[in-house]
Chain length 307, copies 2
Amino acid sequence: MATGSRAISPRSSVWLSEPKTPRRKGAQQPVGLDRLKIVAATVRLLDAEGLTGFSMRRLAAELGVTAMSVYWYVDTKDQLLELALDAAMGEIVLPIEAVDPGRVPPAAEVAPEAAGADGPAGAAPAAGAEGHHPAEPRDWRDQLRQLATECRKVLVRHPWLSPLMGEFLNMGPNSMAFSNAAQAVVRNSGLPLEKVSSALALVTQFVYGFSTIEGRFAVRCREEGITQDELFDEVMTTVKDRPDFDGARELFATQGDVSVDEMRNRDFAFALDIAIAGIEALRDSALRDTTLRDSAPRDTASPTRES
Amino acid sequence: MATGSRAISPRSSVWLSEPKTPRRKGAQQPVGLDRLKIVAATVRLLDAEGLTGFSMRRLAAELGVTAMSVYWYVDTKDQLLELALDAAMGEIVLPIEAVDPGRVPPAAEVAPEAAGADGPAGAAPAAGAEGHHPAEPRDWRDQLRQLATECRKVLVRHPWLSPLMGEFLNMGPNSMAFSNAAQAVVRNSGLPLEKVSSALALVTQFVYGFSTIEGRFAVRCREEGITQDELFDEVMTTVKDRPDFDGARELFATQGDVSVDEMRNRDFAFALDIAIAGIEALRDSALRDTTLRDSAPRDTASPTRES
DNA sequence: ACCTGAACACCGTTCAAGT
DNA sequence: ACCTGAACACCGTTCAAGT
């Protein structure tokens, strides 16, 4: 109804329409603009300024071009964001056997100067299909943990990813490859097929939400120019005397005197342990049920025995 | 750096500053504007037009007032959104024993005409402290399921809640009451205290992510004027011939011929079952470990026995 | 104490026009 | 085929001014 960026119907998704600019051979490129280059600049700008700091006009300025040139390569701002979303999803390193051959790897030129930037982040440097990880695990639990960790890393590296994932359908090739991989891993758990989507949702939504918060916290620290531990302490002391904060304070007290990072890593790992243990428990109970079928009446619902 | 709504530092949160307008007695109210009324109108507008459809100018028009009048009651758009966020959080019905006495219940005037609007939604009608639920469960598992279901309902009813929750610190009284309640419930599971935050994160982030997607799907359907099942079929057929969609298609095939709603309810319930089973398993393994401590060397990590 | 009007510095996008 | 400039209909927010 209004103008803005609303109503992202599946019909309007970039991934459901033909690629623009048939790239007629022999046509000269006056300014050297390019969809790839535009998306790369978008990711860069998004990393630097955040989602609210991004605008078509700023992007055009970054590209040394007038505001409206971009619109020749892209129909709309939302479409461009959708493209950037999938580009970032491509940075998630998947277990090799789950890699889709049609997958677009993170282009080397996507973020050339970001590569050696600020620490362990930076665009995955030419992640070919050769064993990227020290040891490629074959156990589904380790695969799941690895996938979750990879996903978390990318989500924290690009904090603008989370809001975009919530807004779009997320059907680009890289997103698809990721969810196919996640699916394959969960399937390997032996869980009955009709329950795989639940387990998948549990794990992926947890990783998504957890990483979203972590990313936002990091952004805030960067903005205020302080460390995560400093901001954490600040929030803690600011809020110490509020009576309705009792529960949380008590919980944090059990964490001991570790850094925010350690705390988070422990939380993340343990939450995954819970999910994995739950999957195993329900898989085993389903197994038991099918094994003992028709032998005796038993409760099929309650998966775990009471102590 | 730019203008916009960025950098939501904890210092700038509404909840960390004194309430505006000391409400000096005897002062007349020329137009009858009011913080409560403004927040109520905000929620209404947000429900009707979505986050991108909301603007200070639209809101002012809705209130029959000039654009800038609102700024006497509220410092900034973000602050107003934070207020609306907490107001909506107040609609989540909590288990009675966990209700904070200082909690602000959803005001009756928050959405008078929305009450009898479009079905099972609408603002919770005068949810007092008397037993709102048919049977108030005392088992932590049922309490957790109930809390998750309540949270899901509100998140789907107000699809703009999700993005706001991801953007703000979420420390209003109603948000606090909710997280305290969730915490108390998980604590009742008997999980060792230092692991409660992980379990909490697993469950709440799952509910958040799941409901976010459900809400967005519903919005899309409303915008296009079709049912959820119709949209689902449409997406399915649109995407059927894409080779990278194999996994998901196969997964959906196992769901049988149920409606999208049924599918989702099953997925939601089962994911909770997994989380609960996982919590129980790790709680039991921790119990075993402390019981058998120093008696014999055993693996403390693996919580479930292999079949 | 409460509200208005005009103004500033931004948006996304269209459209006619240039080369 | 590719890019520009001007224009339209919006934003959030400030600030001086009204009552």
